[in-house]
């Protein structure tokens, strides 16, 4: 395959596995053989339902979890092979925004202390005066003001706290930010504020985002490309509009059709694919394709063989036996786009 010269891959995730040990020698396969890459300057969205492994992937990329197998390559270097000193430098380039703005800020520190902490750890400034000036600047960048610096987290609303979390992530001027469900704890009108802020910051600073969330409408809104996860596996990956216009994997189709659209006329006409049953346990996942127990078009082969991760169309990856070269062509009804 040709390397796209225009788009530089800043992050490559190669066959990464993360298993957690359980009782009686069993393993919870939170992430099982996931491969994707993120281009510099883009927003890559990772979606899936609870327990699909999307947060584990984020944490494994950050090096917060040790991988079980595979490689995480950030700017040409294996993140999990870094020495302590190299790791220190690595964290200047990659930062994280967490889900719960109530739990991710230390309640005993003032906003200034929270935002200064990473700068102190990395000794960015020769003196306090310069550091404080930078804190003020960051607060303004995220839509707060410098008077907020001496207050404590409990004095802020959820949306404002998330802005503080963003300011902290920006403190080291990173290139890459992993945002793990950054808006799901916020009210709808506030979600849009934070998403717009992230977009503005991206354009201004040329940031690359890995945006992890369960809300596909919001992920589609913010992302350039999207990976869909199910039970530890990446099942489909493509550009966000293509994912909606031409989904390939049966799970993606079901997921898209399950999301209600705030428009009564469209809702009335939409056909839903209602998935039967519930998510199997990641401790004892189904053989072959993990989705086959709920798949409306499962075939014999799905139980026997794990589908390979393949580029079914240009820049459109899928793991499903339906799209094997000699696989059967089955049409799945539902998720019809409704023309109004």
């Amino acid at each position: 395959m040709f390397e796209d010269k225009e788009r530089k891959k800043i992050l490559q995730v190669h066959h990464v596995k993360k298993y957690f040990p359980m009782d009686r020698g069993k393993q919870l396969k939170a992430v099982d053989d996931v491969t994707f890459h993120v281009y510099k300057g883009e927003t890559f969205g990772l979606v899936g339902e609870s327990g699909c492994g999307k947060s584990t992937i984020g944490r494994t990329i950050m090096g917060l979890y040790n991988k079980t197998a595979g490689e995480v390559i950030f700017k040409g270097r294996d993140v999990h092979a870094l020495t302590e000193r190299e790791k220190h430098a690595f964290y200047r380039e990659m930062q994280m925004i967490f889900q719960d703005p109530y739990a991710s800020l230390n309640p005993r520190l003032t906003v200034r202390e929270i935002i200064s902490e990473p700068m102190e750890v990395h000794r960015l400034f020769p003196n306090k005066r310069k550091q404080n000036a930078r804190v003020d600047e960051l607060l303004e960048e995220v839509g707060l003001n410098r008077d907020h610096a001496n207050r404590y987290p409990h004095e802020f609303s959820g949306g404002q706290r998330q802005r503080i979390g963003i300011a902290r992530a920006l403190a080291l001027d990173p290139e890459f930010i992993i945002a793990d469900e950054p808006i799901s704890a916020l009210d709808v009108s506030v979600q849009a504020q934070v998403v717009n802020l992230l977009k503005t910051l991206q354009t201004e600073k040329g940031l690359t985002f890995l945006f992890i969330a369960h809300d596909l409408s919001m992920v589609k809104h913010i992302s350039d490309r999207i990976g869909v996860m199910y039970l530890g596996h990446l099942v489909e990956l493509t550009e966000s509009d293509t994912l909606y216009d031409d989904p390939l994997h049966p799970y993606t189709k079901a997921l898209l059709s399950a999301i209600p659209i705030p428009d009564p006329d469209i809702e009335e006409k939409r056909e839903r694919i209602i998935l039967k049953g519930e998510l199997p346990s990641p401790i004892d996942p189904p053989s072959g394709c993990v989705f086959r127990t709920r798949c409306p078009v499962a075939m014999d082969i799905c139980a026997r063989k794990t589908p390979t991760w393949q580029e079914a169309k240009p820049d459109h990856f899928v793991a499903c036996h339906l799209y094997n070269e000699n696989g059967p062509k089955v049409n799945i009804q539902g998720h019809n786009k409704v023309e109004v």
Partner: protein, 337 residues
């Protein structure tokens, strides 16, 4: 009772909570009605008073610190606010049932599903144990729980989140209530499970004709299942109308703002327009329109007096000074200039 009369009528409801920091005016004069067999969605963001309103209908406001300080709640002509706790207990779970948000905490972990399902039936309708179990099995089939006979003997932890929510729904339905209040029934669930549960609501309503109040912040869910919508903000209902009135002809700037701040899966490249600012503090709510501080069209009057209700159409009511004739004529003049 007249047949066309609404099954539920709430007039001028006020609920307050006394706290260490002062009195929170959680619900500040709410009026709405619910017709027989329809689904009314009460929409709003956290802290707007939507859950307090539904708890007040069930008389589940803990007193102290909470108190219904004014207003009436007429259920089939009877004012629930005037009933004794004993009489209220005979209505709760029998005529009016409630489904709570979190299926993980709504069930008792130490009792079997069978015991919890039949408890209400045995309490209220004095049926025999055998009869109650029979009915529990029937209702479990209705809500789509496979192998109901065996599963009756199991405990909540042996069920998944979606299945637990089905049990909670079965519990709410077993005494065949006329009114079902569902407080964020799918918020804790994944979307594919949410789709299953929403479909279940529609099936049940078709089969039993139960009237539903749905409390939610998810506009997509509302578009799918609501007949009518009431939008709440800072303890007040600021706009009500039929489903399509609210989605296609929103009149209140807050309703418009809410609709513009959610991304739509079916649209590409749309711009999100968030509502700047945050809702007011309900310890000392503003005297005028509570949305005034965030409203892009704010006028002087908005800060002084809460807007009177205007009828945009017969079915569509708004509390906003922009709907006032004087504001309208002024806007028309500006537009002409």
């Amino acid at each position: 009772m007249n047949k066309d009369e609404p099954i539920l009528k709430v007039n001028n409801l006020h609920v307050t909570f006394s706290t260490y920091g002062g009195t929170v005016q959680a619900v500040r004069g709410v009026d709405f009605h619910l017709n027989k067999g329809e689904t009314l969605a009460i929409v709003g963001e956290s802290g707007c008073g939507k859950s307090v309103t539904s708890n007040a209908i069930m008389r589940l406001i803990p007193d102290p610190p909470g108190k219904i300080t004014a207003g009436n709640i007429y259920f089939k002509g009877v004012d629930l606010t005037k009933l004794s706790e004993k009489k209220m207990r005979a209505i709760r779970g029998v005529d009016i049932s409630m489904i709570f948000q979190d299926p993980m905490t709504a069930l008792n972990p130490t009792l079997t599903i069978g015991t919890q399902l039949t408890e209400g039936l045995r309490q209220h309708q004095k049926v025999s144990k055998e009869k109650a179990i029979e009915k529990a099995i029937d209702i479990m089939e209705v809500v789509g729980i496979p192998n109901p006979k065996e599963r009756l003997k199991q405990y909540p932890h042996q069920f998944s989140g979606g299945m637990r929510q089905r049990i909670v729904i079965a519990m709410a339905l077993i005494c065949e209530p006329e009114l079902l209040i569902a407080d964020e029934p799918t918020t804790a669930l994944d979307v594919t499970i949410q789709a299953q549960i929403l479909e279940l609501f529609e099936t049940i309503q078709k089969a039993t004709g139960v009237s539903i109040i749905l409390i939610t912040h998810d506009l997509g869910v509302v578009a799918k299942i609501a007949d009518r919508i009431a939008v709440m903000y800072a303890g007040k209902i600021i706009e009500t109308g039929n489903n399509r009135d609210i989605f296609y002809q929103p009149q209140h700037p807050y309703t418009k703002g809410l609709l513009n701040s959610v991304p739509r899966l079916d649209l590409a490249g749309e711009k999100l327009e968030p509502i700047e600012g945050t809702p007011p503090d309900l310890f000392s709510p503003p005297k005028g329109c509570p949305f005034a501080a965030r409203c892009p069209y704010v006028m002087e009057v908005c800060n002084k007096v809460f807007p009177v209700q205007t009828e945009y159409t017969d079915s569509h009511h708004v509390n906003c000074w922009l709907q006032d004739e004087r504001a309208k004529s002024l806007l028309a003049t500006i537009a002409n200039e």
